[in-house]
Structure formats: C-alpha cells, structure tokens
C-alpha cells in the first residue's frame, strides 16, 4: 500500500530525513515512533504531499507522491500535528467546507459530515457541531481534525501525534477510535510515546535522527530487545567481592557486577540466553548463608529498546 524508498529531506542545510525506506501493507495500523525532531512529521508530510522530498521516492496505493499528488491527496486523510483549524468557523461549517474541498457533491456532503461527526463523537454525547472551533477544547479539536480526515472515507489515514495534549480519558477514547479505524483503513500514526503505539499498531517504525533504527511488529521488536537474561540479587552477609565471586562461580553465569545498596550488596548476574538462573542463585545464597532481600529475573522492555536505539543513534551521530 505504502512504499517508501530512500527518502531524504533537507530543510535548508539541515538533514531531517535521511534515506529512509519502508513498506506498509494495506489494512494495517502502523506507528511511527521516535523522539521529538526525529523526522516523523517530515516523513508524514512528504507522504501526504504537503512537501516534496529532496530525493528518494514514495508511493501510496501505486500513486507517486511527487507526480500524482492530487490522487494521493484525495485518498489520504491527514491530521497534522496540533490539528490546525480555522478558528472563526463553526464545526459543521468547517467540515462542510472540507467536504466540498474534497470534491464531494453537495448531496453527499451533509451525510458524510454527519457520519464522520458521529464516528468522532462530535454529535453524541454532546452536540458540538455548531460550536465555533476556537471555543472547543483540545480533545474536541482533535476530534474535529479526525472527522475531517474521515470525511471522504480515505484508504489511508495519516495521523500526526493524534493523542498529544489529550487528557487520559480522551487518550483512551482516541485510541479506541483509531483501533476501530484500523479495521477498515490503513492508518499511519506518529507518536513519541511507545506504550500507545505498542497497543495500537500492528507495525512499528522507529525513527531517530532522520533514520529508521528499527521496524517490525511489537513482538518482533520485543524479542530483539530481551537478549541475554539477567538476574538481580540483593544480598547481605559477606564482603561484596566475595559474594560476587561466589555467585560468579555458579554454573551458567557469564558475568557478575556488584554495587552497594546501603548495607546491602546488589549483584547483576548475566546468564546465557533463555537461561533462568534464579534457582541456582537462590541455592547458592542458601548454601552460603547470606541474607537475601531480592531476587528477580529482568526481561528487556520495548521501552528500553526504544531508548537504547534512539540513544545509540544519537550518540553515534
């Protein structure tokens, strides 16, 4: 559905997107993840034909972003970051205007607006259709923006930071809405919050410093993250060095690091992949007669990975 190859974008002399390539299948919800300024918005703007890329190519549903921009524009629904709207208009006026702009016949327009408004909870529970946009709360503005995207029932929805600035309840509603949209449309959303993307998206593309640092389903990514297992032990009852050495001698332990935690000593025990060393360590502690305060196995989170990847990217630059 969406094919991006070697996309590069400079803003003047600054490199914003650096030779990225990815592919998105139809009917999936894809999350663009990355810290602020990573190039997410730029990529999305290129995809929605708001701005041309400096080099590379991109196509949506077989249409070239650069050459067939009008076709793309009519099949993409794009909600920019911060949802810019005309403040002096009323919600309905705005949506009607947008519908007209999308080339709808005046007959369809009204029903399309009603439908989109209903999906975005603009009619119920409270009818916001005749409010002036500059009097709407952030959440409602976001909904208006979303409704605008949905007016023409686009094949592809591009949502730039759709949940930013919403309160938790609104965030949840928004997520539900996006999830439901994912059933029918191809959705690309960007976010700098991993948890949100993890829940919503079938695929994640992590961007940092203008480059794709990782992409895949959350599970794939998570698996990559876990890597060798670790056991964290907090002990008391001996010299830290001794205790570390003792643990290190346990079979299957690759490495032990120790540091102090008050009176206690904290050991980080590295084992081979997939190994669970907790039992062996517990046995050793019992045998030595140390006091044990904590013993747990640590599995790598996507969050760690995200931070790690983006951190790496930044330090490498």
């Amino acid at each position: 559905m969406i094919d991006v190859k070697h996309l590069t974008k400079y803003y003047g002399r600054t490199l914003a997107v650096d030779d990225i390539s990815f592919h998105i299948d139809a009917g999936s919800v894809v999350g663009f993840l990355g810290p602020n300024g990573a190039g997410k918005s730029t990529t999305l703007r290129i995809l929605t034909c708001f701005m041309p890329a400096t080099s590379g190519s991109a196509s949506i549903a077989g249409y070239d972003v650069f050459k067939q921009s009008l076709q793309i524009r009519s099949l993409v629904g794009y909600m920019p970051e911060n949802v810019p709207l005309y403040p002096e208009m009323r919600v309905r006026e705005y949506l009607m205007f947008r519908a007209a702009l999308r080339g709808m016949k005046s007959k369809q327009r009204s029903s399309a607006v009603d439908k989109a408004a209903e999906r975005c909870w603009l009619v119920k529970p409270e009818d916001m259709m005749h409010r002036r946009i500059d009097q709407l709360s952030r959440g409602y503005r976001q909904r208006v923006g979303l409704a605008d995207c949905l007016l023409h029932d686009p094949k592809v929805l591009v949502l730039d930071e759709p949940t930013i600035g919403l309160d938790p309840a609104q965030v949840r509603e928004m997520r539900n809405l996006i999830r439901s949209l994912g059933e029918k449309h191809t959705v690309i959303l960007s976010s700098h919050i991993l948890a949100e993307v993890e829940q919503l998206c079938g695929k994640l593309i992590i961007i940092s410093g203008g480059k794709i640092v990782a992409q895949g389903t959350p599970d794939e990514l998570r698996r990559q993250v876990s890597g060798p297992s670790r056991v964290i032990v907090e002990l008391k009852g001996g010299q830290p060095e001794q205790m570390a050495k003792a643990v290190a001698d346990v079979d299957g332990v690759l490495d032990v690091q120790h540091n102090r935690a008050g009176n206690w000593t904290r050991l980080t025990v590295q084992g081979a992949e997939d190994a669970d060393l907790r039992q062996d360590v517990a046995a050793l502690v019992a045998a030595k007669g140390y006091h044990l305060r904590e013993l747990r196995r640590e599995i790598g989170s996507l969050e760690d990975y995200f931070v790690q990847m983006t951190y790496e990217q930044i330090t490498r630059d």
Binding site: D19, S21, E88, E220
Partner: protein, 894 residues
Amino acid sequence: MAIKQKKSVSDKPKNRDQKVSRRTAGLNVVISIAAAAALLIIVNVISNKKNYRCDMEVFGRYGLSDSAEKILEQIDQPVRLTSIYTSTRSDRKPQEYLPRLRDMMEEIARQKDNVTVVNVTSDRAKAEVLGRLRRVLDEAASDHRAIIRGAQVLDGKQGQQYDTLTRQWAKYRPGGWLEQFALPKEIEAVMRAGKNDLREMTMKLRQDLSASLPDYPDMVRRVEVTLAELQGRLVGVSSRLRHLSTVPERAKKQRQVLTSAAAAVKSALAKASACIGRENSPLPQDSLKVLKSFAVDIRAVADSAQLAATQLDRFAGDGYVRYARSWRHKKVSLPRLYRRISGDINNIADQAEGLIRPATKVADRQRFITDARQVVPQYLAAAGRVQTAVNTLLDELTKLDKHTQKIFAQAKQDNYLQAQIKPLAELLEQASKVKPLPEHLNELIEKINQDNIVLIEIGDKTGVIGFDEVWPLKAGQQASPGDKDNQQDKRVFHGDSALCAKMLSMTAEPFAEVVLTFFEDIPERSLPYQQQRPMVGPIPSPLLRTVRERLEKANLEVTEWNLFRKPGRAKESKEGPPLPKRKDCPQVLLILPPPEPSPMPRGMPQQGSQWSDAEVEKVRKVISRRTPAIFLTGFLRPRYMAGMTMPARYGFGDYLRKDWGIDVRTALRVIQTKPDSRAPGKFKLEVVQWNFMPLSSFTDHVIGKPLQVRRMYWYNACPITAVSDSKTGAIIKDILAIPKGRNEVWAISDIEAFIEKVEQRDPLEADPDSGDLIPPFAVAVEATKQIENEQARIIVLAVGESFTDYYLQNPVFKLSEDGTIAPEPPPVADVDLLINSVYHLVGRDEYIGAGPAIVEPIKQIAPGTMLNVKIIFGLAWPILMFAIGVVVMIVRKR
C-alpha cells in the same frame, strides 16, 4: 524479522544531489517567473503600440471635443504637428507634460489621416526641425536677407574708405582753412564713428544670423536705424562742406562792401570826434552849434554801425561763417559788436539832440561836450579794433589753402562723400520697400525659442503654440514665489482646444469681423506737450489689447470704427463701419460705452466733438441692417459737481430702452456678499469680492452654458432689467442672471452711502437699502427683434470693466480660508463670454465651448442639507459598517 538498519551512506555525495535538485527546482521557478515577466512586458509593449482608445465621457474631454472634431473635418490640407518638448526647466519637465499632449496629438492623428505627429525630445532632433524651418523662413525673408547681405557688403566696402577718410582728416594741415571752423576734428570723429557703427552692426548681424531662426525683421530694422544715422551724419558733413566751399568767393566778393562798411563806421566816428574837438582843447563858444553838427555826425555813426552789422549778417546768412574762429571778437560776434556800438552811439546822439534846444544851459552843453570828448575816441578805438577783426575775418575766409581747395572742388560739385552716401541711400531705399514677413512667420520667430512648444505646419503656414497655451496655470494653484517646497505650478491641460483653435485660425477664413465701435478722441502721440486730455469712455479701446488678441486667436478679425470725427475734418467721418476686408465676411459691432458729453465743453463747442444722438443714429442704422452688435457697458461712476452727485448717463441707454425694452441700470453696481455663517440671514462684505466678483450663474443659454462653472470674475457690473410693458417686440433672453432668491447678490444705488454704512459695522455687515435692486435681474442678455422683416440681434454685456487689460492682465486676489489674501492668475476666462457671444451672433454656435467642457455642477446645497449629508454619509455610513461587524461578532460568539 531482523532489524533493518540502513547504513547511512556518506553524506557528501548526497548533499550534492540534494543541492543540485534544489538548485534545479529553484532555477525552474526563477526561469518561469522570468518568462512570465518577459511575457508581461511583451504583451504590454504590444498593447502600448496597438491600443484601442475610446472616450466614454459625454463631453469627450479627454478624447477630442466635438468642436475639435469639427475643426479637423474642415482641414483638407496635410498637417504636421511637431511637439518640441525639450525644456530642462524643473517646472516644465517634458516627462511630466509631454505624455498627455502626445496622447492628444495621437488622438488627432487617429481622427484625421492627413495629420502627421512628430515628437521631438532631443536637442538634435530639435535642431533638425529648426533647420527645416530656417529654410522656409529664409525663403520667405529673401528681401530681408538681401538687405542684411547688402549691409554686410557695405561694411566690407566702406570700412576701408572710412579708415582712409579718418586718416586724411587727422592729417589735415594745421592752420588749414577749415580749422577756423574746428571742422577737421569733427569730421574725423564722424568718419571713425561711421566705421565703428558699421562694424558693430555687422558683428551683431553675424551673431543674429547664427540663431536657429533669426529675427530678420528686427535685423532689418536695426540696419535701417544704423544706416540712417550714418547717412544723416555724412550728409551733414557733405552739405556743410558744400556750403563752406562758397564762402571764400563770397568773402572775396563782399570784401569791398564789408571793409568799406567797417571803414565807414570808423570814418564817421572820426568825423564826429573832430566835430567836438579833442580833449583838453578849449570848449567851443557856440556850443549849441557844435552840438547840432555833432548830433548829426554821431547819428550817422550809429547808422553806419547798424549798416555794418546788417551787412555782416547778410554775408554770414544762416551759414557756417558764424562758426568761423574770427567771426567773434573777444567772444562777441562782429555784427553784435557793431550793434552794440550803434546802440551806444544812438544814446549819445539822443543826449546830444536833447541838448540842442536853446533852452538848455550852456554849462550842461559844455559838460556834455567834455564827456563826449572823452567817450567818442574810445568808440573810435573800438571801431578800429572791430574793423581790424573784420579784415582778419575776411583775410582768413579768403585765404584758401591748396588742400582745402581740393576738397572744395569736390564739395562744390556735390561730390564729396557721395561715394559713401549713395550706397547707403540705395540700401535704405531698398529696405523701405521690404515686404513685411507673413504674420505667422513673425510669430514663429517670436515663439520658437520658448521652452516646450508645439509647431503646426499646414501648407506653407506655420503656427507655434507656447507652453502656457497648452498647459495654462490652474486656478488657485499658482505657486507663490519664494515658497521653495511648492515651486511647481499646478497646470491644467488645455492642448485640445489650443491646438484645434490654432489650426482653425490657420486654415479657416475668419468667422467674422469684430468692429470695435467707440467714440474717442485721443490726441496724437507726436504732440506730447499738448495739454489736451483724451476723450474716452469708461472702457477705452486701447485698453482692449488682450481682448483683441483673444478674438484673433478665436478666428475672428478685429477692426475699428471711431464714431468721433475731428471738427473740421468731417469728411473722415463715416456713416457706417469700415467695409469688411473680405467679401461676405459678417461683421459684429462691439460697442463700447461712449464718453459722456462734458457739461462745460472746453473751447468752442463744435458739431461732432461731443457725444450726441447723431452717433446713436448711425449705430441704430447699422444694427437694423442685420449687423448684430454687442454692447459692452456696466456700472458708470457718478459725477460729482459742486457738491452734487450726478448719475452718469449711458450713451446708448435711451436707445436700448426705447428700441429694445432693455433697461441697463448703469447707475447701480452689482455686489456679491457672503452669507454670515454666524448670523443666518445676514451678509458679510468680502473686500476682495468688491473688485473680483465671482459670478458665474449663467443660464442655459448657449453662450453661457459652457461657462457655468468656469472661474470668472467681474468688476463694476451693473444690472439689466426689462422695461415693463415695453412694446418694442424684442425678445430678451438672459445669459448671465441672478435668479430671484439669491439674497447675497444685489445692486447698490449709492456707493458712498453703502461704503459708509458698511465701514461702520463690524464685521463689514451689509444689507440692501431701500433704493437697491434685489434679484432677479440679469447682467448679460441677448435680444432679438424683427425690423422690416430682418432679424436684428444684440447682446448686452453689463460686466463693466472686466475686459480691460488692467483687469485681465493682473492677478486676482482671493481671500483664502485662513484669512490671507492670495494672488491667483488673471481672470482671462472672462473673455470667453465675449468670444462665445460673437460666435453666437455669427451663427457659429458649434464652436462655443471649444475650451475645456464642463460637467454639470452640483446644485446649491443648503447648509442644513449639507450637514445632514455629512452626518449620514460621512459618519453614520462607516459607523453602520462597523456596527454590522459588531453584531456579526456577537452573533457568532457562541
């Protein structure tokens, strides 16, 4: 799925790619914008060349006016219009003033195929045009040029001769015959001056000839003056010499007579002296007898002295002998000396005769004899001295030296200096026969050196239109001198009518002859000491130069008809106006108010020296023979006599009243005041409006309609009313009228009382008096009437002295808002009323309003209405807009 981590390609080549693509994209935009700009320019250049222009204005003021088109229709000769706008003056920049004119000229060229338009903006092109004109002028001025050439040749030939003559006279032998007349020095000076004058003249001529268009007539005039002066001097020398050449012979001939006369005086004296005896000799006994014979002798002396004086005078005649050195003895001329002697001697004779009577005492006689014995010898001695002087004179006059003899030989035959005088005389003779240049060439010469002119060439005629004619100053906008920020005068475009009127007057026969009709006796200029005051009316014809000029520009000719005939020269008086110069050219009389007959005529009252009904009768006859007339009149100042105020009498007043039913109230003066803004219903007198009355309430009459909003000022106007129950059958139409209800205008009957009254009030409040005439009345009317199946037509313009040069050539003073009095350009537009009147009377209505046409003015708006309009449209309307906005904002705010 493995992490697809793209290895970043090295930045450098990519950066270049990126730059290239940005550059091409940028270049594309720049090129496309440049292409669009080029297209923009090309399209506009083409559209500037091939444009369609069409004047949507009803009057077509910015295209060509109807009258201009009519004029163009008439012209069937090829016309070339050349604008020469090359001024470098900052207040007449071509770039500012040319475009409008060029548009208009092109408009004319579009209208008319045989008109070519040339725009000259560079000095080189101007020089070319001038070169062409120079050839035309040179051809027309061949006579003039011949004279100028002749003068130059003369200088070449005679310069040498004068030099030689100067040298000859400088070398005149000291003590030569002529020296006694101090002549050689004088003649030398004449010769030297002759050479210098000629050289100066030719130098000036050469300089003038180098001008682009030399003023040939002026040059010829100067040649004439120089040559005539020189000729006069040479002829003087020549005739003096001729006269003197006769002197020696006459002296020879007269010598006998004169010497004997002188000798006679002496011998008579000697005889008388002998008669009374010597001094100290004893007194005669018979004193009576001695005295008797002495008296006779001494009387003879007086007579002979008188005779000598007369003979000397007769000899000298009125010739140059009197200037001879020895004509005088001790600064007294010889005849005078003899007369003195004769006079004195006569005295003595009288005394002697008085003593001859027997009754006189012997002692007295003897005393007389004693005295006479002393006195007479003195006279004898004097007579001797004078006799010597006479002889000296005769000697000197007869003693001719050889050099002078030679000169006299020529002079006698009237030949001396003839070689010089003859060519001068011939050239002067030739110059007096030079035909004057055609008027249009004179104008060309006069105007060609002005800045920014338009040249019109039709056939072999050329016309020049000056800058001020095309761009006259706009009313009220004249820059005040010294005001540096606003030096630029505001000008309005008038080119359309200026050009077309000029072309009209160049091509068309004059529409009519305007016959200035007046009754004036102006003493000739050659008698300056004559204490005779000129007899003229309140509008003297010599003061109508501006009007004449304007009439001529309006394609009319101007002639004069003076109704006055000099007493004794009755033959010169004509019964009618002069015959038109062109056959069938209609005439219009422009009749000035005649001077009033003086109540106490100076000298002998003579028939015709005073205005009388006979003159009115002449005019009446002409008018009834279908010649239309315009009567110029106005308020006539009353006469003050012996403490009495006598209203002035208008010479044609009775005629107009009786024949036309028009009552010209010349004793009243129309004034215009301003409504007092502070006191409704009251009026303030504006002092400047006293002299400059801005009245343009013209009716829709064809004459006045185009003038309705023109800036016109009137001076000393008087009201015109119709005579009630007049049975003249004349139809009177108002041209300039003050309608009923215009309260701020009225006519005052007693100026003195009025001024006195106004001056006492502050601020110059004015109101009509009982004797004053309040509107409605007219100031200009037209009247038509059937006289013996012929239509007679007259127009009466009672606008006073508004057409005189004084009024039309001096600035108008206008009170500005801030109370200062500012000068404005002269009210030259006034003349249009006259021109339009003439056009109308000769049936050329279509040419009326050839000047800038006028959109109908906005009506008089009452102050109250105006205030309402201002409130509603100036304030309420924008506020309403604002209020709508507020309402919309409130409605939308929800």
